[in-house]
């Protein structure tokens, strides 16, 4: 139904992508519960160029979601800095962050998180109407256009609750793009979908990234999808384990990519990852016995 567009990469795209959209340096987050401190991010550094599509991989509890919350300005880091579009976001007030989020950041969540009392069109329109205070004609037209683009033109006025999982996620993708953000953050966007819907949703995100030049950062456990991204960032134990800039080997050879990832995931300077696996194995045996 939705075909991945294999458009030719423009000549200057490499230059555009060299312009950093997001610069993260020594970002730390420690959760404090009374006297108990839990360091989750322990000094994260990376840069994402404008218009890139980056996958973030890492085991559960590695700090991916926390990192996405911080990059999405929903949470303040304990220390460190991150700059987006040349602005130091750790210095902004809550109100400024809310405005910034509205205009520059789009979110896609694992459980689609549409507002159940609103139609597909209203859900997409919400970030815009909520900011300007009313539904504008231009806003409605853009929302309808986006929904048409994600193949939902027949469901514009369906309540969110009447849509299937895959449909909801497509609406969520359209909503994330409503205010023409510079960055879309997707937290396990395909984690709750079956293979077919996951592929469709991912293809859609790739198309939108190419068409609009929007930067995508998505956390995923799906190595096959991660392999189709231009670049992958590995988070383990609160730090970027390995940063590799690779041009995607394109979608026709996912298996070869998969091998590379499996290979890299074994490489672990600290041995943390292996120990984690071993521990999990012990616990499993313990509960079985």
């Amino acid at each position: 139904m939705i075909k991945l567009k294999m458009s030719n990469i423009p000549v200057n795209e490499a230059i555009v992508k060299a312009v950093p959209l997001l610069e993260v340096s020594d970002l730390r987050k420690t959760f404090v519960d009374r006297d108990f401190q839990t360091p989750v991010l322990k000094g994260v550094n990376f840069t994402i160029g404008t218009g890139e599509m980056v996958a973030m991989l890492g085991p559960s509890g590695s700090g991916k979601s926390t990192l996405l919350s911080i990059l999405g300005t929903l949470m303040k880091p304990t220390s460190g800095s991150f700059r987006m579009l040349g602005r130091e976001l750790t210095a902004l007030s809550q109100r400024e962050l809310s405005d910034f989020r509205n205009q520059q950041i789009g979110f896609i969540f694992q459980y689609h998180h549409l507002l159940p009392d609103f139609s597909a069109l209203e859900n997409v329109l919400f970030p815009h109407a909520g900011r300007v205070g009313r539904e504008t004609r231009a806003g409605r037209e853009r929302a309808a256009m986006l929904l048409e683009r994600v193949g939902m033109q027949d469901r514009l006025h369906y309540r969110a609750t009447r849509l299937s999982g895959g449909q909801k996620q497509r609406v969520a993708i359209a909503r994330a793009l409503m205010n023409q953000p510079a960055l879309v953050l997707a937290d396990e966007p395909t984690g709750n979908l079956d293979r077919e819907n996951a592929d469709q949703a991912f293809a859609l995100m790739t198309e939108m990234q190419r068409e609009t030049g929007t930067t995508f950062l998505l956390s995923t456990h799906d190595r096959e999808l991660a392999e189709r991204c231009e670049r992958r960032i590995y988070i383990r134990n609160g730090v970027v384990d390995l940063e590799r800039v690779e041009i995607a080997e394109s979608t026709e050879a996912p298996r070869s990519g998969l091998r590379v990832i499996e290979g890299t995931s074994v490489i672990d300077k600290t041995g943390e990852g292996l120990r984690l696996d071993a521990q999990r194995g012990r616990d499993g045996r313990h509960s079985a016995g």
Binding site: R95, R101, G106, H113, L115, F126, R131, G133
Partner: protein, 399 residues
Amino acid sequence: MRFDLKVALRYLLSNRLQSALLIGGVAIAVTVFTFNAALINGLAEFQIARVVGNSSHVTIEPAKPMPAVAPARDGAERLVVSQRALERRAQIKQWRTVESIVDTIPGVTGVSANILGTGLVSRGQQTLPVTLKGVEPSRLSAIAPIGDAIVEGEPQLGLNDILIGRRLANDLGIRIGQPIFIASDQGRERSLTVRGLYATGVESLDARLAFINLATARVLFNLPDGLSEIEIKLSNVYMARAVAKQLADTTGLEATAWMDKNQRLREALEGQGSSGNIIKMFTLITIVVGVASALLLTTFRRRPEIGIMRSFGISENFVLSVFMLQGALIGIIGSIVGCLLGYGFSVFLANVSGGRLPVDPSLGQYDVALLLAAAASILAAVWPARAASRIDPVEAISQ
């Protein structure tokens, strides 16, 4: 339409049962409020009408002459025992000026210049004390509707005429056209003809009062150019105090409002009023508690959604106003329904009781009820709305 209003409406419509119950709760509270107001105010009007209908609203009387006291020199204190000067008769001498002042006051519907005095009425061996009220014949009904209350004879007051209550006539055993003998407390006597008998239903008027011509009263009470009192009737009885104060200030005479002449009535009305206010206060508290608890529940239920909204940069103020608007909508719709119910219930009871229950549907204080109920609902929404606007999006989304 404002988008926050649209969202608020959508939320109210999405949970119709809860919204209907909330609006119903506010409506019932407002029904109680307005019916209570219609009953208490109707009762007060009924009592006031009975008292005030037959008496003046503002009465101007001569100032009580007090002896002048010479001021002390050099700031020294001086102890003075003063006694009211009794050597002169209290009377309003400058009454023409006073009447011209009264004419300039808006809302005055009737004025009567009277001479009041005590006298003895006798017929044969029967002698009874009466209050004689000398009035201008044209203004006989300016204060009490004596003209309408005439049950026998004519409401005419010639120089030799007298109008007496039917009770007094019965006590004296006298009929229309018969003469009676009047002796005033100034020692003057006169024979007058009974021209009419009235029955107002008020004991003090029917048994102890008689009306005579003002000119006759001047002779009987030896007041060639003074008056005992000027009575004033107002279109709005509650303006009496303000008018009395204005008249006292401008004329230097004593002016008393009806409520200050009827201490007991005033106390009764105040008692009823404050018990009514307690009921009204409880209805408002009911609204605040009901709306606040329901909206707070809604806030908790919608935490993840609010988190989502915040995640795409919807401002705290937007969330705040969505919940405040829900409170306002519940309050406004509920109180409009409540006002209609309260009015309907009052009309129903007033009709069913056939006037025995002094409910006055027009005195339901609907504007006050509407305003207070809406304000109470908005106030009740403040807490839930603030709670909603402060929801941490990360925590709410991960729920």
